[in-house]
Symmetry: C2
């Protein structure tokens, strides 16, 4: 049987060597003390975000590979940093595990987490561990952005174009495939990969913010129909979406896949976990938006309206209200 | 039934009005966006710490008043800030609740949390909520201390005196009383109060650090016999404790109380949850330590040794090894 101290030592091994620990924007003191110390950069604000990742709610012990759990618990918290246009600096990992998962499962989990940590240059700075029957994860990410420059949800104005990155509904489709499969899965399709190993759009968020192109931005975690109303609400505006413009999987993909019969329009509107960026751009800046950024498509899908309603123009031209149907743990 | 958005609105009501939100060391953007924004002070480092507070492990739904759960989940995370000698700035609350507890229980929980937040000047900046069968809490606290000035665990040197604040074993005694009682309890004794509403030693930690009196410091959360070895290990030293000097409850207190027959020496050595400070002071600075600080006793209980063993001198003068017997979720 191992004690908490040895568990902490195993976890702390994934912390990155910190060659610039005396420089700004770096972890000055990592795991092993009462708290971590972070040295902020002059002229920057600190971005703070935390995210639950719970067995049974956000992942399934018997379906999700431990590596994917490790990657995704950090990646989804990083998506909030991307949504502010910031750069990640470090993170805290709170982990509660059953004794049975403190061996091989933990090693594989830490492997996935380490990969995400290195890939997105976000160093493990500290955390807390305890024992629990179910696997509980909470990740806090600390990021930075130049003072006053972070992208908020509040700046959208009537007439702004609404954009999304990537293709919507892919992760939800991947989840359907996962649910339909037997036992632990491997990454076999792009949709499954998007569900298991999402890529926070950090470079895109940073580029849009630095160049002051966006008036409002957020990440899509609960589904477009749930998240867009939040952006509109924060900005005091409404929106009109054009269904035909929303980038999504071709329908034959869904019909032929193991997800079986999924309606790709439904997935694109209501599916969660895409971690794409949703942002608004004033008309005068629209020509500064490229068709794609580092291989990720950028698509105008509608327009912000003064009228605070949310409307969807269907492919047949008929208009209907956009009803939130995305992920909400309390619904 | 309520949704996540309305839950977040209720929680966000406990956020403090932020009159100085444009000034340094303050929350510039609180709940309601993808992440919070914090404006660090120039010349300061950021202190980061997070803490689990789980039903069944750290508190009992049927025994602990919701107000105490709210107070304590923040207070114990703040104790880590005290241990670094820092000042708290803001916190993130991650909360997972059963539907049944999203009403009255949540209100009372938020009441206790708000009291602690105001008392210790630590503003709610953000968080994450979800639904779960058990009540899960994780708190991240962000603090600050002057660059290079934070008290670490690593600086203890042979010959330093070992000090503790307050009286040890009181909280563990309070827990015994709680366990022996029927149903939800009220705060009826100082020991119960110490268990339910611990006071992080922020002013003391800050004073000791500012005046550069301590060589090493940490907070006592798992019990002296578990925590002192961690400080010694980090500093590469040993320690000799004198049992007779350890401040604890008088034994008749324990015998007469509902805790029934508790050995106060055992509680003082191994009882957790005291959130007192453990710190080391070079001999030459010992006369700068007052007998008490703001009503909290400060007591020298032993000495740091070059020899890396941990020894306890019993009241009868015999010496024995100090064996960790405190709280460890993995033991």
């Amino acid at each position: 049987m191992q004690n908490e101290q040895s568990l902490i030592q195993r976890i702390s091994r994934i912390a990155m060597p910190n060659p610039q620990s005396s420089s700004a924007g770096a972890v000055r003191l990592g795991m092993g003390d009462d708290a971590a110390l972070f040295r902020p950069r002059t002229g920057y604000e600190t971005i703070l975000t935390c995210d639950w990742f719970l067995e049974g709610t956000h992942f399934l012990r018997k379906k999700h590979p431990p590596e994917a759990v490790g990657w995704k618990c950090l990646a989804r918290a990083l998506s909030d940093i991307a949504a502010m246009g910031g750069a990640p600096r470090c993170f805290l990992l709170s982990l509660a595990l059953p004794e049975s998962h403190a061996g091989r499962w933990l090693d594989r989990f830490l492997g996935g987490l380490r990969r995400a940590s290195r890939r997105f240059q976000c160093a493990l700075a500290g955390g807390d561990t305890t024992r629990n029957r179910k696997i509980l994860i909470n990740v806090t990410v600390i990021g930075e952005s130049r003072a006053g420059q972070a992208a908020l949800r509040t700046g959208a104005r009537a007439g702004d174009f609404i954009y999304v990155s990537g293709r919507l509904g892919e992760a939800a489709f991947g989840l359907q495939m996962l649910r339909g499969s037997k036992g632990l899965v491997k990454t076999s399709t792009p949709q499954l990969k998007k569900h298991l190993y999402p890529e926070p759009r950090l470079a895109l968020g940073s580029w849009l913010t630095k160049n002051r192109i966006v008036t409002a931005m957020m990440d899509l975690s609960d589904g477009l129909s749930s998240d867009l109303p939040r952006l509109c609400d924060a900005s005091g505006v409404g929106a009109r979406l054009e269904a035909a413009r929303i980038p999504m999987l071709p329908n034959e993909n869904a019909r032929s896949g193991r997800g079986g019969g999924a309606n790709t329009m439904h997935l694109a509107l209501h599916g969660g976990d895409d971690y794409e960026l949703l942002f608004t751009v004033p008309r005068r800046s629209v020509d500064r938006i490229p068709g794609s950024f580092q291989g990720v498509r950028l698509t105008a899908i509608g327009e912000i309206t003064r009228n605070r309603q949310l409307r969807l123009i269907r492919k047949d031209g008929a208009e209907e209200p956009l009803i939130p149907g995305g992920w909400d743990p309390f619904r």
